[in-house]
Symmetry: C2
Subunit: 204 residues, 2 copies
Amino acid sequence: MALPRRHPYKIKMNFEITLPDWAISELEKLPTHIPKLEDRMREVIRFSRLNIEHETGGPFAAGVFEKESGRVVVIGVNRVVPANCSSAHAEIVTLSLAQKILGTWDLGGPDMPEYQFIVNGQPCAMCFGSIPWSGVRDVIVACSGEDVETLTGFDEGPVHPEWVAELEKRGISVTEGVLREEASSVFRDYASSGALVYNGRSGD
Amino acid sequence: MALPRRHPYKIKMNFEITLPDWAISELEKLPTHIPKLEDRMREVIRFSRLNIEHETGGPFAAGVFEKESGRVVVIGVNRVVPANCSSAHAEIVTLSLAQKILGTWDLGGPDMPEYQFIVNGQPCAMCFGSIPWSGVRDVIVACSGEDVETLTGFDEGPVHPEWVAELEKRGISVTEGVLREEASSVFRDYASSGALVYNGRSGD
């Protein structure tokens, strides 16, 4: 784990996060539009389950959709361990992919439709903070942060105590509890599989 | 800005963040170790200034160092606009590069030295939340969040009201105000240059 004597700066100073091959195949099979909110969430939950079945990351997935039409921009998954990147939570991966696909760092820019962000578990402290910068206007959550922590042992980190109000103050609506039971069952199965629950400095 | 009729999933579903060429050259010129804390911060501030002079991102830089020895792991910069990625703040970029260089998603893992994270401005809501996951044990800040907002107009987002206590609770020490004046002068110059201050959903 020690650093080499000379730093490897001759290597390309980049980092790259890639979706697993199965996710690309699944995305190609999706309809271009998913009209109903619950069906959008169902797909996000299905991706979270596939991510653990394929052992390609933690039990988290997120999707970006056009809110009105249901057009699918992308569904992404957690890649922390495979990518050796503690920021590669499903939310950061998915928002970054959506911004790449749409060619902008602001999904709330002028002349754009409203984008909806759908996650199977309440965003952690980091991912909560990433939402206002992303430009999405609407956040849909299945399980609460407490569900995630209780069912899996994953730490949500120091989430802002008024996280919903802070997003709503910025013009971002929040809906919680959509298909909560279905999402919980993935977290339960992850925990009972004995798979790695990585956490950082979680304190005592 | 409209999505193509068929989604471009045949393209590689990845996103990649790269340091600008000037930063790679500057990293190659650095000594392997910078023993004094203020000198480490001075380099981070210098990178923040170079990032605006080269027009390769916002006025933010961050560095990861071995705390005791001062060994430089990497210094990175904000890449939001060039990378079309709202999460490409200096902190996320730098922590991700450090994890790539060191080959682990946890800089606080067993048998590793303590890593120190040095930033020219108080981390925003997202970057604050990324710190506990990264494994760093020590955070050094030049300007406060209020300095950043007042001097530049960049929004810090919904930062946790007890952000220092929340990090310290997780075994991460925080020191603020190191070379604050030097860091402020970069923010002042950025603001007076009329360069883009991107913000997401910042509310009213």
